[in-house]
Amino acid sequence: MSFWTEPRGVKSWLLTRDHKRIGVMYLVAVLVFLLLGGTFALILRLSLVEPDNALVSPHTYDKLFTHHGIVMVWLFMIPSIPSAFGNIMLPLMIGARDVAFPRINLASFWIFIAGAIVVLVALVAGGVDTGWTFYTPYSTSTPTATTCAAIGVFVTGVSSILTGINFIATVHTMRVEGLRWRDLPLFVWAIYATSIILVLATPVLGLALLLVAADHAWALGLFDPNTGGDPVLFEHIFWFYSHPAVYIMILPGMGVVSEVVSTASHRKPAWYGAIVFATIGIALVGFLTWGHHMFVAGMSTFDVGVFGILSMLVAIFSAIKVFAWTSTMYGGSITIATPILYVFTFIFLFVFGGMSGVAVATSSLDVHWHDTYFVVAHFHFIMVGGTMTAFLAALHYWFPKLTGKMYSETWGRLGCAAVSLGFIVTFTPQFLLGNAGMPRRYATYPAHFQWLHVVSTVGACLLAGGLVVTLVYLIAAIKNGKPAGANPWRSASFEWRSPSPPPPENFAEPPRWDRGAYDYGDAA
């Protein structure tokens, strides 16, 4: 008797209050949006093979990169790990039966779907060509479906806030007896910190989008110089949310990495306290760094200095985590399997991507790099090389818990290799393109940039292929995989104590916190 089959019927899924079913529905949704956003990206990359871009018109190109950004950021990246895996695993990891507010959880899912539908309507009914950043006055004057898209994203934001509230209440009040804050699994800490950002930052995004939607629809002129408005103020409001948003995107991934490293190495995490400190540090200090997106927007030099130094500080928290993960592996007994291979990819891609972030935080260097492919490469290293890789790690790590089956390890490694190699070939040339001065959001470009674009496109095809292959063998394994047992990775973490897949009430008996989530019996 598993949560998949109990209770029966489509209606029992659509109106479920089971966090696992809600998490699975989120998972399916975000995978669909990953494929959609990825398709836009593939078309973009194919069109960039020729400097004159015969494939799509500039206006279509502008809509494609906007749609790619909107779908990837708000319909994939933000919900991917927290709403899917957070929902499924959080109660299991703390010994709870469900989240604090199961009905709000269900509402949160359907609000997300509603918002996604409004966004998709905008994409189809005219499209949006403002970039996912919606900078005014272009966004408030362009005759595309900006208002509709902004409202759609606003609605998904409401979903995020509800999820954040739910997770915060869950972690505060539903830990099993004996589970203290200092014993919390690191994934739970990551989800908790992410939820803090979700509830505090998303409202500011909601405001920014409402203002854009209203201004676009009724020409309010709030950011229009003709009425005395200041476009740079919009940038401040937008980035005040969107910088913490990138931490919404990476923190859960880091939580996954902590779990996989610990389980695979059969060791408790090294420097647990430091990792927790760094997690909360990223969540809080991340609110103070938004101005580094605006070094050339006309901010005062003083502001540039302050935002620069705070951005350096945030990077140190990530560095601490990388040191801790590698130290956890030291002296362990590591099970080499697909999840740890994805973590390995994560570590060196995230390190390089993070260092490139420190590079752009260096103000004089950013003057050259801002709005070039260097920045594009930087954030894709973190978001794809980091978050998406961690998402794939989570998928492969928790697959047996979720389905009770195991996928083919050979295909797992093949998929990991294709995704990793494809990623590197796609995005490393983009650092060079940025250095050479190729601006972003260019539909056509000076011919001397061409060969780097060609290499990047080849990589994109490989990356896309790797992703598709991965999804195919995972879906096949749901049906044909070998039975996996309750704890194939021999993890000490709580979620592995329940059967695979778990029953609707999570645990066969009310769980007891009789030993820690990282208790591998090592003396060290």
Binding site: I165, H172, T173, V204, D215, T227
Partner: protein, 201 residues
Amino acid sequence: MTSLAQVRRFRVAVWTVIASEALLFSGLFGLYWSYRDEYPRAFDAGVRIDIAWMGGVNTFVLLTSSFAIAWAVHAMRHARTRVVARCLVAVLLLGGVFLALKIAEWTVHISEGVVPGGAYYTGPWNGRGSSLFFTLYYFMTGLHALHVIAGMVLIAWVALRVRARTLTGDDPHALELVALYWHFVDAIWVFLWPMFYLMRA
């Protein structure tokens, strides 16, 4: 009966909601102060156009309603449900007065041609930034009014539960948490009032 665990959950949730809403308004506060700094004369003129007595009465009304709901919470702890019911009705009535005055003021402004967006003429005053003042005025008081309506819905729900005796002196938590939200909504107004009615240059 709400269990202790449930109460804790709701309490955490309501405080989180309040923090979230505070951030929602904060962006608008930021915009107001930036633009006020840039266009002090236009904002001064805007404040003078706003109907001061309506703003003042609305402040008095909301503060009184907060007092009334605090009294309800206090009475609930002593299980004096009749007093609670009367206080809650008072809060709803005061909320209604607030909204009515707000609508009245908006109507007056609109009939004078003070509408959000675009450049508009405000009599002898000829200054850049005036439309920004009023765009922010409509946006912020409108957003606040939506929160007042939400609060009133919650208070009505609590009042019905008191009537049905599912909310009692032993289990007053829903009332207390709704009161908390109502105080927050009042607190927002306490900032809006000087910003839009009192602060001349």
